[in-house]
């Protein structure tokens, strides 16, 4: 069952085509990795799907429904939530309050929101930091919090933008473990990631973007052997087989 499908998704910034008629779909309960060199249009694609950028052309279907005209908050209510590459921790609010803001997406009751936020903190392993201000967190904790806050909105589709970038190997394992546990709880995940070990090990399927175009799609195994992908990453000159 396709949870998300984009058809000819195109986003232009003036003359620059950031996403060039991208067709992609996400199956329910899978982890889809989105990779590609810097400037390939991965984050732009996320922003289009999450409703932060209006599309230049093309359409987006979520659960079979055209959501192209909904704004970001409306899409979050539908169940599409993205985290930010540059973490948007609410610095003047505590960890618990940060997550409560997410939980308010499904309830207007403060006590309920607090309970749900506490459950999410438990899940994310942030319980002992619940009363710490956002400003006082390490980058690893902020990335965890970013995910926890998005989880609290009870999404169906979670778009994770570089959640392990800048973390040390131990922290990466913790983060990846959480990604798997999120999927096991029934949430579909699309993740943009540059750390190849991470994205290869956790993804069910990969989509590769270069200069706004989808050049390859398949299992991590297939993608890592694909000629086009290797060329895109290494360049024509260093691509061993093309010599």
């Amino acid at each position: 069952m396709k949870l998300l499908e984009t058809v000819g998704l195109t986003k232009k910034f003036g003359g620059l085509v950031a996403c060039d008629s991208v067709n992609l779909h996400v199956e329910e309960r899978e982890i889809l990795g989105l990779i590609g060199p810097n400037g390939a249009g991965k984050t732009t694609l996320f922003n289009c799907v999450a409703g932060f950028f209006p599309l230049t052309s093309g359409s987006i279907y979520f659960n079979g429904q055209d959501i192209g005209r909904l704004d970001a908050p409306a899409r979050a209510k539908k169940g599409i939530v993205k985290t930010f590459q540059i973490v948007q921790t609410l610095r003047l609010m505590t960890v618990l309050e940060n997550v409560m803001v997410g939980a308010f997406c499904r309830t207007s009751n403060v006590a309920t929101a607090r309970q749900e936020a506490e459950a999410v903190l438990e899940f994310a392993g942030l319980v002992d930091k619940r009363d710490v201000l956002g400003a006082a967190l390490t980058i690893a904790d902020r990335k965890q919090l970013e995910v926890a806050r998005a989880l609290a909105t009870k999404p169906k589709l979670l778009l994770l933008d570089e959640v392990v970038a800048g973390l040390n190997p131990t922290e990466i394992q913790v983060a990846l473990d959480m990604v798997r546990r999120i999927r096991d709880s029934g949430i579909t995940i699309v993740m943009v990631e540059h750390v190849m070990e991470a994205v290869m090990s956790v993804s069910d399927r990969l989509v590769v973007l270069t200069s706004g175009k989808k050049i390859c799609e398949g299992t991590p195994q297939e993608v890592s052997c694909d000629d086009g992908v290797i060329k895109a990453y290494l360049g024509e000159r260093y691509h061993a087989r093309s010599q």
Binding site: A72, P73, A74, K77, T83, F84, L90, V101, F104
Partner: protein, 345 residues
């Protein structure tokens, strides 16, 4: 453990020393506010200062909802103040409608004005909202000055003096009823602010103040939440406008639509502590005592000295302690706590 013991420990847990102290201080302040004009501040001039403190305290508290909690640059709250005053005055002068209803009507009109300002500008980033709030004040000032047949133009709108009573909202010879009414209005504003802060709206405002994008990504319709906060703030400010109309028995267009009123409202909050629920009234106590006090003590010679003094105060706050009086208090407290800890260790 018996049931009685359980309930007792529950009560003991809920009422620890900090909570008892907090409620004790709160009760003392309320009692003090109730008896102050009957005991220490019997002189009409002193009572006038108290009324001004509460008037600006209430408006600053209302402003704090959108400007402090929500962090929106609402530079023109005098618009709502003026609308409240004019609607209350006009309804009474033309149709003898009691100012109590007039105040609420003024509040409703103020909410409509806030929607007109907020709906187009809250969608945009940057300073459009700030400019719109300032601009609306100037437009309404020109309207009030030109529509002479309705508003009395530059001469203002005098309220007909009638035999005193609660219904006509007029009291002659004593300021006490005005004091208790404005105390009640301040109480209402403070309560609303507290409830907003504790509710989902309060969390949403704090979130969108820090990061618009994070807020939107979490399903917050930022435009709607800001409109809601501005509407609540506008309604409360208009009530105070209606009160002032009855207190002065005169609506002066240049006063009620003056930029300086907006500035004073914001300065009270900034001086006291932006975003804190006690900040606005603390700022109002300091600022209004200073400005009304210096104006009286220095008489005609001292014109503008009050502005000079609180201009310097604001500079000091911005440079030394951006969270104002509340910020100074918090720093002192944490220093004391640290010292007592190191002594016991």
């Amino acid at each position: 453990m018996s049931l009685r013991q359980q309930t007792l420990t529950k009560i003991a847990q809920k009422w620890d020393m900090a909570t008892i102290t907090r409620w004790g201080v709160f009760a003392l302040v309320v009692a003090g506010a109730l008896v102050a004009p009957l005991t220490i501040f019997k002189a009409p001039f002193h009572q006038h200062i108290l009324i001004m403190v509460l008037t600006y305290g209430a408006m600053a508290t209302a402003w704090n909802i959108i400007g402090g909690l929500g962090g929106q640059p609402a530079f023109g709250h005098t618009v709502f103040y003026g609308v409240g005053a004019y609607i209350t005055g006009l309804l009474f002068v033309n149709w003898q409608i009691t100012p109590w209803i007039g105040m609420i009507a003024g509040g409703i009109v103020a909410v409509l004005v806030s929607i007109v300002i907020g709906l187009p500008t809250f969608r945009l980033r940057g300073h459009y909202f700030a400019i719109a709030t300032m601009g609306t004040g100037q437009i309404l000032l020109q309207v009030a000055l030109s529509a002479k047949t309705i508003t009395g133009g530059p001469l203002g709108l005098p309220i007909k003096v009638l035999p005193q009573g609660l219904y006509v909202f007029q009291f002659h010879g004593t300021k006490l009823p005005y004091y208790y009414i404005i105390l009640g209005l301040f109480g209402l504003t403070f309560l609303v602010q507290y409830l907003v802060q504790q509710s989902r709206l309060g969390y949403y405002l704090r979130a969108l103040k820090e990061s618009h994008e994070a807020a939107q990504s979490l399903g917050i319709n930022t435009t709607y939440q800001k409109l809601l906060a501005l509407g609540i703030s506008a309604f409360l400010t208009a009530l105070i406008g209606g009160f002032t109309c009855q207190y002065l028995l005169f609506v002066d267009p240049v006063h009620v639509f003056a930029m300086s009123v907006s500035a004073k409202i914001m300065l009270c909050t900034i001086l006291g502590g932006v975003g804190s629920i006690y900040g606005p009234i603390l700022g109002a106590v300091l600022l209004l005592t200073l400005s009304e006090g210096t104006r009286a003590w220095l008489g005609g010679q001292g014109r503008g000295v009050d502005l000079f003094i609180y201009g310097s105060l604001i500079l000091a706050v911005v440079v030394l302690e951006p969270f104002g009086i509340v910020g100074i208090y918090r720093k002192l407290r944490s220093r004391l706590v640290r010292r007592s800890k190191s002594e016991t260790a």
